[in-house]
Amino acid sequence: MSLIFTKSKNGRRGSTIPKCDVPKCSAIPDKMRRSTSAELPEVSELDAVRHFSLLSLKNIGVDTNFYPLGSCTMKYNPKFHEQVAALPGFSALHPLLPQLRNGGALTQGALEVLYESEQILNDLLGFSRTTMQPLAGAHGELTGVMLIAAYHKDRQDNERKIMLIPDAAHGTNPASAAIAGFKPREVATNAEGDVDIENLKQQLGPEVAGIMLTCPNTLGLFDRNVAEICELVHQAGGLCYCDGANLNAIIGRIRPGDLGFDVMHVNLHKTFATPHGGGGPGSGPVGVAECLVPYLPISEVVKRDDGTYTLDYSFQKSIGYIAPFYGNFAIILRAYAYMLSQGRDGFKRISENAVLSANYIRVKLAPFFDQIYDRNCMHECIFAGTRQSAKGVNTLDMAKALIDRGIHPPTIYFPLIVPEALMIEPTETESKETIDEFIQAMIEIAELVETDPEAITSCPKTTPVRRLDETQAARNPVLAEL
């Protein structure tokens, strides 16, 4: 589709602007004025709305298609969340207001949202406190490892520079650890899909700051030794970080704090049903055990004895500000609405149904695709497309064939330790019928690989564009229309 710039015509307007009710003038020196206007398009409001509406139709989302993207928890986003997030009482509120004298009284509703959603997360995760500030999952990871760094620094335990990370981890783990000043070091995964305890023991020592463990792990499995791992790391003087990307598998059933973790991030855009937005904005609150409370970012929302809320800046050992204000408030608000509607009993139903659906898919597809780890999974199941790649059809081809069948593909080629990986996460909000259709589509693809591989390798055929030349895109980057 042509770019919005090609629809531009001099003099066309897409908005109305108030008349100037003061004398026209400015304090901008002439020499500082730009000599040519920024070439923004000039289109009517209809032109704009039609252009973007048509573009939206070149997308698929959870609302239009099954989206079993592993590790991303693409569950349904309840519509009333959007309504409450748009209430002017929240959306028009300036974040500096509670920092002004007498301003706090005028933001009590917003501060209550932050405080109460923290309380629910504390209970759900089994931690003492949770900071709502981190702006995304990876930002939560960074906050979490910065807290670990602050803990060791405060104890003058300055040699602890190594952060252990399983080889199956998301790339964000080592990247976040590096930005917090740690040297990431890989821990091996054993043949069963758990952390290799012997390998872990060899690596533990006075230089180890901690471990970053995804729980359940990125293979969709619950590590059988998770409590032992936490204990070993603690004995060696390190702390245990839980990557909460897969929280949907255990929410309401077990609490990471009870397993021995000291710190954890939660992706509100996964487990707590806030929209993914095509890649953000997310929100990544971080829960901590008592030992890390003194280092939490400032400010924190606290409740006074009279029931009112205020901002507390008194954390002397705080790592400081990691966001400009109190987190992605409008996302936290949606998640709070979700928490309130789920309530005490709702959370376990989420994990039960999510794990059931993933195991159902695993059992149904096991005859057709290779499994590296033959055991029950948690909320996502992983296959290796090795049987198919031996026939000349790789996982990418099968992903494209799913698109032609109206299904967003699973996560592919991750985790890196699984060859031709397909990582399928159905979530609890999808019906058995939808899941059965997906299973049928996968079986049909597996059969076509045997009989007519070309029918798969030539996909997709129904999309606005066919396969795109990514090599050329990277070799001769065209990144903007100037």
Partner: protein, 444 residues
């Protein structure tokens, strides 16, 4: 069961298929041998109606009818309804990162158009797909400078947003980076002192445009001097102002970032916001964040993909340019639709309104006995005034009268306790400005 489609019958069939009698057995077989956690502290679930009612009550406890002159980097601009209409399309907001480009051309083309508009506004040739906010984008720019120059010293002006600076300080505390903060002038960045701090060890100089006091400064000559030290120059800027001001790209900045909230994104009590980043061609492969590029499909038809991914964490892991794994995509879409609807002329008009009203407000305020000018030779829509007393205390009394008159600078600048930073957008009317001045005069 809220949002769970399966019936008890469905569940029973599925449990049978996986060879489990009940959920207890399912958990055991999935290696969960821990007892059920106790969530008694959490209330029982509520219906949609009840939750909406309660949240309406909470929204009502927040004052949004204050007449606000608060800015400090986060501004109350008009937002055309079309912005929300487009971002509310669930094909956009319920999608994830465009990992499968054939099924995500909508998201990808909007990113490409967003990148193009950021380039046109800033005068830079390359933009990424966006970052969390202005502060994190500035930190990323600083780290990028260290990578490019292989140096570890960052010179930053005190006239850069103190909110951004406190974030940068937090992030830098564990890194091998030396931050040198150069004190500001009365209302400027004190360029003479700033350049003295630059040496062969400097990775970059970080400034803001207009600066944290609202002042517009010329940077061409300054940047030439920075470049003689082979350091980079980094600028954080206010995008609405750029429709009138010489773009940073024409002043030889190497990296341009900023907070994009002013482009169609509500204040939202602190987020989500939008960090933007634009760079010169030379440094594109050291830039953090997602980037969308144009290419062709098998039939030669134009299309868009995420590109230059070798820079990113999912490929490079610990060696990545950043740990960021998303952009602030829906906010970038808001900015794109905002810039499209306002258009070339509309954005200029909005900015001219801001500029005119700011001059009017400043004149009105300076008429009050005891209120004095602080600098103010060159500004866009924000300026500082000196009050006859503690600005924080006066602000508190003005709030009780229904005005948020500005931001008291003493919060971040201890030697400026009597200074107030006042922002004026196109939404403030002549009457509101007059009323502000009258209320302040009566109070002083």
């Amino acid at each position: 069961m809220p949002y769970i489609a399966n019936t008890d019958e469905d569940r029973q069939l599925m449990l049978e298929t996986i060879g489990c009698a009940d959920f207890d057995e399912m958990w055991r077989k999935s290696d969960i041998h821990f007892p059920d956690c106790n969530l008694l502290e959490i209330a029982e679930g509520k219906s949609e109606f009840e939750v909406v009612k309660y949240l309406h009550e909470l929204a009502g406890k927040n004052a949004v009818d204050l007449v606000s002159f608060l800015g400090a980097g986060y501004y109350d601009h008009l937002i055309p309804a079309a912005v929300d209409a487009v971002t509310s399309r669930s094909e956009f907001y319920t999608a994830y990162t465009p990992y499968q480009p054939e099924a995500s051309q909508g998201t990808l083309q909007t990113i490409y158009e967003y990148q193009s508009m950021i380039c046109r506004l800033t005068g830079m040739p390359i933009s990424n797909a966006s970052m969390y906010d202005g502060g994190t984008a500035l930190f990323e720019a600083m780290m990028m400078s260290c990578r490019v120059t292989r140096r570890r010293q960052v010179v930053i002006s005190e006239a850069v947003s103190p909110i951004f600076r406190t974030m940068i300080e937090s992030y830098s505390s564990n890194l091998d980076v030396e931050l040198i903060v150069v004190p500001a002038g009365i209302d400027d960045s004190n360029q003479q002192e700033l350049i003295k701090a630059v040496s062969k060890d400097t990775a970059c100089v970080v400034v803001q445009y207009p600066n944290a006091f609202g002042t517009i400064e010329a940077w061409q000559d300054f940047n030439q001097q920075v470049h003689t030290h082979k350091a980079l120059s980094v600028c954080s800027c206010y995008p609405i102002a750029l429709s009138l001001l010489t773009p940073p790209g024409e002043m030889d900045f190497d990296i341009v970032t900023g907070e994009g909230q002013s482009m169609g994104i509500p204040l939202n009590f602190g987020g989500p916001y939008l960090g933007f980043m634009a760079v010169t061609k030379k440094h594109v492969r050291k830039m953090p964040g997602r980037i969308c590029g144009k290419t062709v499909d098998l039939d030669g038809k134009e299309g868009y993909v995420l590109t230059l991914q070798a820079r990113e964490q999912h490929i490079r892991r610990a060696g990545a340019m950043s740990n960021i794994c998303s952009n602030e995509n829906l906010c970038a879409l808001s900015a794109l639709v905002y810039l499209t609807c306002l258009g070339k002329q509309g954005l200029i008009e909005v900015a001219e309104l801001c500029a005119s009203k700011a001059v009017f407000a400043r004149n009105e305020l300076l008429k009050i006995a005891g209120v004095e000018a602080v600098g103010g030779e060159a500004f866009f829509n924000e300026f500082i005034i000196k009050l006859p007393g503690d600005a924080s205390e006066i602000v508190g009394r003005m709030i009780d009268k229904g005005f948020a008159p500005g931001f008291p600078l003493g919060r971040y600048y201890p030697d400026r306790k009597d200074q107030l930073l006042v922002a004026v957008t196109e939404k403030r009317t002549r009457e509101e400005i007059k009323a502000l001045a009258n209320a302040l005069e009566a109070l002083l």
